[in-house]
Subunit: 429 residues, 2 copies
């Protein structure tokens, strides 16, 4: 066994970084045995050097991340800063100086994954980012390696713990969105500025990464249709319950039926209570993968948090170190299919639509005509009347999102339709 | 990209083998792109050459498997024969002639994994066997690679589809074991000779493989405590229901609390309906992995069948081919912890015991005394009397299996205990 240690530079020492440093110290013997050589924390770049970091030797701490990655003796850079810059420049600089990179940075990989992979390949380095998607749940490696001989047709999952916590609370307690968000914030499940989570940006970045790997093509954050959960109401959740469903924020990546394009989207959707994703509670994540030969696989676990994310980072660190020792690299980007990403309008889905309508004869016929004119077939209609007003709840059969959107627009123009109270897609059947 | 194809020899062309051959043909372009070179089926060894195999060119078929693996130009041997011999000799010969091996052979890996890994390492070859455990569900690779930086404490799962189908039928229809087995046989879920499945040998082999990888030690089939499902009665299932539980055949691999030993066992057990494994229906498999940093992960999917198993084989084939091209090998055996495997008596578990007792005063006190004398604490007792006889159902707190077994032996010796009607462990809490 080699005795000269592999040197690791850690960029960022927050919740994840400090846990990575801690495990590298407490489990040094295990890591040595599994890698085939000792691994040493050679430097830790932070923004605020004075914050006490338990277990991280003070002499390793620096505020000059650039100098750290330029040292030239670093074998693997672990980037847990997050955000686009300075992470992107630091990672690129690390490759230029001969290091492999393990990153937990979903935003950066979703935006610039192709360029980063190219930079890694040019320098014969590895770029790993299991921690960028669903914390400790192995997804990137199973999709890239275990299913490398299969054809993935669909990835459907709950990949954001904050929004799942909020929707779960709304479902179990009947609370409204704001109330549930407040609870999530108080319990530490939501950040002070929850935008990235509740507006679906975080889930959309993960969807882009998963779609690219699953379909062997390039999908970036901009390709992902994104709707958050801020408009989900207690009434929507109640409607879902009446249908035997619950509401989840889903990331859905699909290959078109003809195999010639893919779609990627993040939006709240109703799913039947019988679907395994319906029982994913609190801040847990779960992802279904449907492949031609493998069938339906599900991966479930904690999607965030310092320890789970550190577990994923360390798995990648072991792989990157092993490859360094063997003088090789793991599988890089696979984007040979060059499948285009279709717009949301091409997605085939179902709508659950609640309408406030005038309570008079002929309204249902009028509404049904609008659906028929757009080629949208109706699955069920439920009508409730009270005091001259009535509500119609329509669930459609599968149709293109464009046709469904056009139907809703046409419904809004009907005199007898006073309001389109809510629209939600129905998935998971 | 290299244009000389990598050559693959297929040993066995039954349900799995013919599906591997089919996908290699229909998805040749994808495999070429993912591997970085074309991959070619160079020979198919079978026992019965005259059986028609759709999609397998007749000129590739041979009955001389030994000559095929000795050809010297084979890059990867795919072994889907099963059983110990001739599979073991063929695999060893394949390594000697420079090939890497992908195997779906759980019995062989569970018995001789260490020797096979050593043979592979000696020749600089790969030995992969994702398909040996839980079909298409990625488990070997996530445990070996994704969790390489973590400490796994427990693996708990349903890893045999046949027995899960039978127990599921008994649970939903109230059928007895024989009736449910007949249905499984008629539907193709059980083989004509179901011994390997219903006696737990298949699950025990998988438990040995999972325990070895999870705990970085050597665990063979003989180390696994094994009980099948043939003695599970409709009454046991009914008892489980009364407790809010269901009965599953579980494979459980655990690291002892002090970290100094491990255990591996397969037996039927009651698990609460609230546990995610309780809702694993029909022939599906699901495995929980509990790791220090990652927390609780679950992997779910079809655990058997030609296509799912072929998916796992092909994922390994892609990895083995990539390594061949790069002149490297993937991670081999990791058994550095050398943790001993403790006997079943050391396992900490809970018992659900049904006793037929004399319906007279003092019996409960007598029974309770026996538990106390063995240091086994009682959680609940349910007593039902009829016609001078009574039944006592006792659920214990956690205790060593040795103490629980000794308690049951002592109960049998009590005059007032007419019969120990059933004993089942309670897990998953």
């Amino acid at each position: 066994m080699r005795t000269r240690p592999l040197k690791v530079a850690l960029l960022g020492c927050g919740v994840v970084g400090s846990e990575v440093a801690r495990i590298m110290t407490t489990h040094a013997a295990d890591l040595t045995a599994r890698i085939g050589a000792p691994v040493e924390l050679a430097g830790v770049a932070v923004r605020r050097p004075n914050r006490v970091r338990e277990g991280v030797p003070a002499e390793l701490v620096t505020t000059d991340a650039t100098a750290l990655v330029k040292r030239g003796d670093i074998d693997v850079v672990v980037e847990v800063i997050g955000g686009i810059e300075p992470a992107r420049t630091l990672i690129t600089t690390a490759f230029e100086h001969g290091a492999s990179v393990v990153s937990a940075n979903k935003a950066l990989v979703a935006q610039d994954g192709a360029a980063l992979h190219a930079a890694a390949q040019e320098r014969g380095a590895d770029l790993y980012y299991e921690a960028a998607v669903a914390g400790a749940i192995p997804l990137v490696r199973p999709l890239r390696e275990s299913l490398a001989g299969d054809t993935v047709n669909r990835v459907l999952g709950i990949v954001n713990g904050t929004t799942n916590f909020i929707l779960d609370r709304m479902d179990t307690s009947g609370a409204g969105y704001s109330e549930a968000l407040d609870e999530a914030t108080a319990l530490g499940y939501a950040e002070a500025d929850p935008t990235a989570d509740v507006e679906g940006f975080d889930a959309a970045a993960k969807a882009a990464i998963l779609a690219g790997i699953a379909f062997h093509t390039r999908v970036t954050l901009d390709d992902v249709h994104r709707e958050g959960i801020t408009e989900v109401t207690a009434a929507d959740i109640a409607s879902a319950k009446r249908m035997g469903c619950t509401v989840k924020l889903l990331a859905i990546c699909e290959r078109a039926a003809d195999g010639r394009s893919v779609t990627a989207r993040v939006h709240p959707a109703m799913i039947p209570l019988s679907h395994p994703l319906a029982s994913v509670r609190e801040a847990y994540n779960a992802v279904f993968v449907e492949a031609e030969a493998a069938g339906r696989l599900m991966f479930y676990g904690p999607g965030a948090g310092g320890s789970p994310t550190a577990s994923a980072v360390l798995g990648d660190l072991v792989a990157a170190c092993r490859n360094k020792l063997a003088g090789t690299t793991g599988p890089g980007e696979s984007a040979y299919t060059r499948l285009p990403v279709s717009p949301m309008g091409d997605v085939i889905t179902r709508y659950h639509i609640s309408l406030d309508v005038a309570d008079k004869p002929g309204v249902l016929a009028q509404v049904a005509t609008v659906f028929a004119e757009h080629g949208v077939s109706i699955d069920t209609v439920r009508q409730q009347g009270k005091d001259g007003e009535a509500s119609l709840v329509v669930v459609t059969h599968r149709a293109s999102d464009a046709a469904l959107t056009a139907t809703v627009e046409a419904l809004r123009r009907l005199d007898t339709v006073r309001d389109v109270a809510s629209i939600m897609r129905v998935e998971g059947e």
